[in-house]
Every structure is written in C-alpha cells, then in structure tokens.
C-alpha cells in the first residue's frame, strides 16, 4: 500500500480535461518524480494531488485516508507540504519569518523543526535575518522547501524546484531532497531536468497528454531505450 495513492485522476481547471486517468503513487520515504514534455500536465497532476483543481473522476488517499474532497489547506493539516514553482516565498519577510509562517498552523513549539531546517540548509541560518526576496534563486528555493517542511509534512510536493537555478545549485538541491527523503518524508516532484531527476528517483512517471505513458523505477526508465530516445534526448 503506497503512502500516497492518487488513482485515475481525470479533470481540469474547468472546460476541457487536462488529466486523463493519471495515476501517481509514492511509497513512504521514497522519491517519485514526474517528467514529461511541456504541456503534459505534470504540474496539473501535482496540483490535483494537492486539491487545487476539481477532479471529475479518481481519488486521492494519503496514508490510507481518502482526502479527495479536502481543500488544499485541509490537506496541509493532514500532512502534505507543497512548494509551488514560482512565488513560493514571502519576499519582504526575513528567512526566519518565512519559516515561522510555514509553521503558522502549529500551536506547539516549532523551534526544533526550525533547527532541523537550518541544519539541512546551513546557508539559511546565516541569512535568517535577510529578506527572502533578496536571496539568490537557489537560496530562495531552499527557503521555500524549508517553509514547507515547517509543518512537519509526511509528503512533500515540489513543483520544479530546480527551475532557473544553475547546474551546481541543482545538484545541491537534489542532494538536500535526498536527505529529506531519508528522514522518512515521501517526496513527489515535478522536474524539467528529467535525466538528473530520474537518477535520484525511486519511482518515475512519464506523463504525456495528462496520462501515464511509462511508469517504472527511476533507474529502469533511464535504461529504457524508448524513454531515452523520446524524452531524454538519446
């Protein structure tokens, strides 16, 4: 039984369907990566898992509990963390305040969690009094991930975390994401950098036109000649 099980999702933003029976599953503490060509519905699939669009068919269960009808906010309380692709920090607030806002729904003491985030992203500790809007792209992504980790999610969803950052920063971000997964948090991630992402993926999904085209482990997809030729550029 997968920790996250989003099965047969069909729906869109109103009007035509974007997803056509798309299925995504993530096991506990594993990394699942969604790749595919532009317009394949990768981000839409992720948003559907998070409840940001209405599904006509299909269901989403988290840890065995059906959450199909819940709003994004309610899903956050159920243990989902979401890092949007853009506008994912509070630019005029300091790094520390960004993390505090991430923990807004928590009524307990969240200093331990903040300490963990700082341990994971040491640069954020150095810049904790600086405004998030003044940081570099890679640092801002770290703030965004850190903010989402503040609720202590069991499933962390990342929409193209490496968009617009340099290859070196990308490698570092992937390393951090692996570290997060090692702490037992499941990760569902949409990535443009398909090859590098599949290298760290336990499970890979290749979406085309809102439906699953290939589903296998990351390593198997990388080895598949069809996938390589069509989606990974040889």
């Amino acid at each position: 039984m997968s920790f996250l099980d989003a099965s047969d999702m069909t729906g869109g933003y109103g009007g035509a369907d974007i997803l056509h029976g798309c299925t995504l599953k993530v096991a506990k503490g594993e990394i699942a990566v969604i790749v595919g060509p532009n317009g394949a519905g990768k981000s839409t699939a992720m948003k559907a898992v998070f409840g940001m669009l209405n599904l006509r068919e299909g269901s989403v269960t988290l840890d065995g509990e059906d959450i199909t009808a819940l709003s994004p906010q309610e899903r956050v309380r159920k243990g989902m963390g979401f890092v949007p692709q853009v506008n994912n920090v509070f630019p005029t607030m300091s790094v520390e305040e960004n993390l505090e806002m991430g923990a807004f729904i928590r009524t307990d003491d969240f200093r331990d969690t903040m300490e963990q985030v700082y341990t994971l992203f040491p640069i954020l500790r150095d810049k904790r009094h600086q405004n998030a809007g003044e940081l570099s792209g890679g640092q801002r992504q770290q703030v965004a991930v850190g903010r989402a980790l503040m609720t202590q999610p069991k499933l962390l969803m990342l929409d193209e975390p490496t968009a617009g950052v340099s290859p070196i920063v990308m490698d570092e971000l992937f390393d951090r994401i692996i570290e997060v997964a090692r702490t037992g948090i499941s990760i569902l991630m949409v990535e443009q950098n398909a090859r590098q992402a599949l290298e760290i993926a336990d499970q890979g999904y290749v979406l085309v036109q809102g439906a699953n085209r290939y589903t296998d482990t990351g390593a198997a997809l990388l080895a598949d000649p069809d996938v390589r030729r069509t989606f990974l550029g040889g």
């Binding site: 906010q73 309380r77 994912n88 509070f90 607030m93 305040e97 806002m101 991430g102």
Partner: protein
Amino acid sequence: MDLLNALVAITNYIIIPASTYGAQLALGALGVTLIYGILRFSNFAHGDTMAFGTAITIMVTWALQAGGVSLGPLPTALLALPFGILATALLMLGTDRVIYAYYRKVKAKPVTLVMVSVGVMFMMNAVTRFLIGVDDIKFTDGERFVITARGFKEFTGLAEPLALRTTQVLTLVMAALIVAALFWFLNNTRTGKSMRAFSDNEDLALLSGINPNRVVAVTWIIAGALATTAGVLYGLDKSFKAFNYFHLLLPIFASAILGGLGNPLGAIAGGFVIAFSEVGVTYAWKKVATYVLPIEPDGLLQLLSTEYKFAVSFIILIVVLLFKPTGLFKGKSV
C-alpha cells in the same frame, strides 16, 4: 542675528506646520497603504472614514464637556478618541461584512472594488453630514500654546516670533507613538506577521493556513483606528468640516503612492515629503530672503498661492506615476 531670524521664520512657518501636517498625512496614508497591501484596492472612502471617526469623537467630546470632564491642558477630544475609534472600527467591519465581502467572494477586479469604495465614500459622507452637519467646528480646548509668539520674542529678543501650539506637539507625539506601535505589531506579533505574509503572497499565506477573514478584519480595525486618529488630530490642529476630509484624500493618496503603495514605511516618508512640498511651495519666502540676501526682493517669492496647494500633491502624484510607479520604497505598482 539675521540668520537666526531667518531660521526662526523657517521653523515657525515651514518646519512646525509641515511636520504636523506631514504626521497627519502619514497616519492617513498608513491606513490607505495597509488596505491596499491586504485588500488590494485603493480605498477612496478613507477620507470620509476619517470624517466619520472625527465626527463621533467630537460628539463624545461635547458629551464629556457637558459632563464637566476635562483633561486639563490637553484637549478633551483625546478622552473621546477611543470611542471614536471603536465606532469607526465597528463601521469598517460592518461595511466589510455587508459590502466588500461579497466582492471578494466573486473575486472582483481591483478597479471594481475602487468603484465600490467610491460608493461607500458617498454613503459615509452622507452619514457624517447627517450626524454632525456641514458647519466648521472647532473642538479643541485646554491649553492653546506650548510656546506663544509673544513669549518667544520676549524671551529671545529676536524680531521673528515662534509659536508652538499644543495640538502640534500632540500630533507629533501621538503620530510617533502610533507608528511605533504599528510597526511593533507588524514585525513582532503573530497576527501582524500573518498580515505582512498575506500582503506579500496571498496564495502562499492561504497554503500556510493563515485565515484570510481574520487578516481582513484586523486590517479594517487598524485602518479605522488610524483614520480616526489622523482625522481627530487634523481637526484639532485646524478645524473639522465634513468636506475637508474628502479633499484630504488627494494628498493622502499622493503620500501613499509616492512612498510605494503597500509599504508602511513609504507611507510615512511620503506624508512628510508631500507636506513639506505643499507648505514650502505655498510659503511666501520674502521674509526669509530679506534676512539672508543682501537686497530686498520685489515680489512675495511665493511659488504658488495657498488656494492651489492641492496642485502640489497632484503634480507629485503624476510625476511618481509616470516615472516611478512603485514609489520611493519599492511598493506595488498601481
């Protein structure tokens, strides 16, 4: 001696009045900028919100005066101010519940909300006139001066007088306290931070579990309190007239936009820049020039007659919108 006289004249006719006026504009602009940051529209009803709050405060002041209550050297209106704030906050929350909430629910465009606020402005203006009439009302009492013109001349032996009114000191002290309290609230409390987060990035704030209704309600209450305080201070300093507050809307918006809409620090800076420009441009510099320059100038050296003082705000507003729409302090573009 001439140089000293010139300095005293500048202080008396420019620095003191412009600082006072600037503080009043800053308080008004803070309310406008908060509403813009959180609710994302320019609230045209803000001037009449000030008028309403001041009208209530004046009526409570009259009641207190009739009851023989006074604050000694300070104006009685200070005691009435909390009542005015309370009434205005309730009016704000009521207006939001009855009118604005609907337009948020249907996700109306900002320009629609602006037009709605124009409607609210007319309503509030009517309510204020209905409550207190259209007359010019002076409601200040207590000690009038901290430094009197004659006292200053006798004390220093200078030719130029310098007067400092109680209401001017009061305005500056109150404005400083309120601004400090507001910034402390925004930077250090959970609710204040959630307001800044909501202003920064509404979607992410919602994802973080921040309750939008609470943020909006707190914003209205604070805007109401700021508007009432600004209105009462302005009324004490000059006089109360229902229509005057409508005219204040232009310099207030100019201050908020000049500073950068949505940026509280900018609103304060904007208020003072506008006030000093307005007073500086409409002041007859002849007296100062006579002291400083070797020859006596012919004209009054007044750039603009006082009737046209609003043109100053208007010109600054247009220049800012044309060349730096985000304002001096990196606010949101209009």
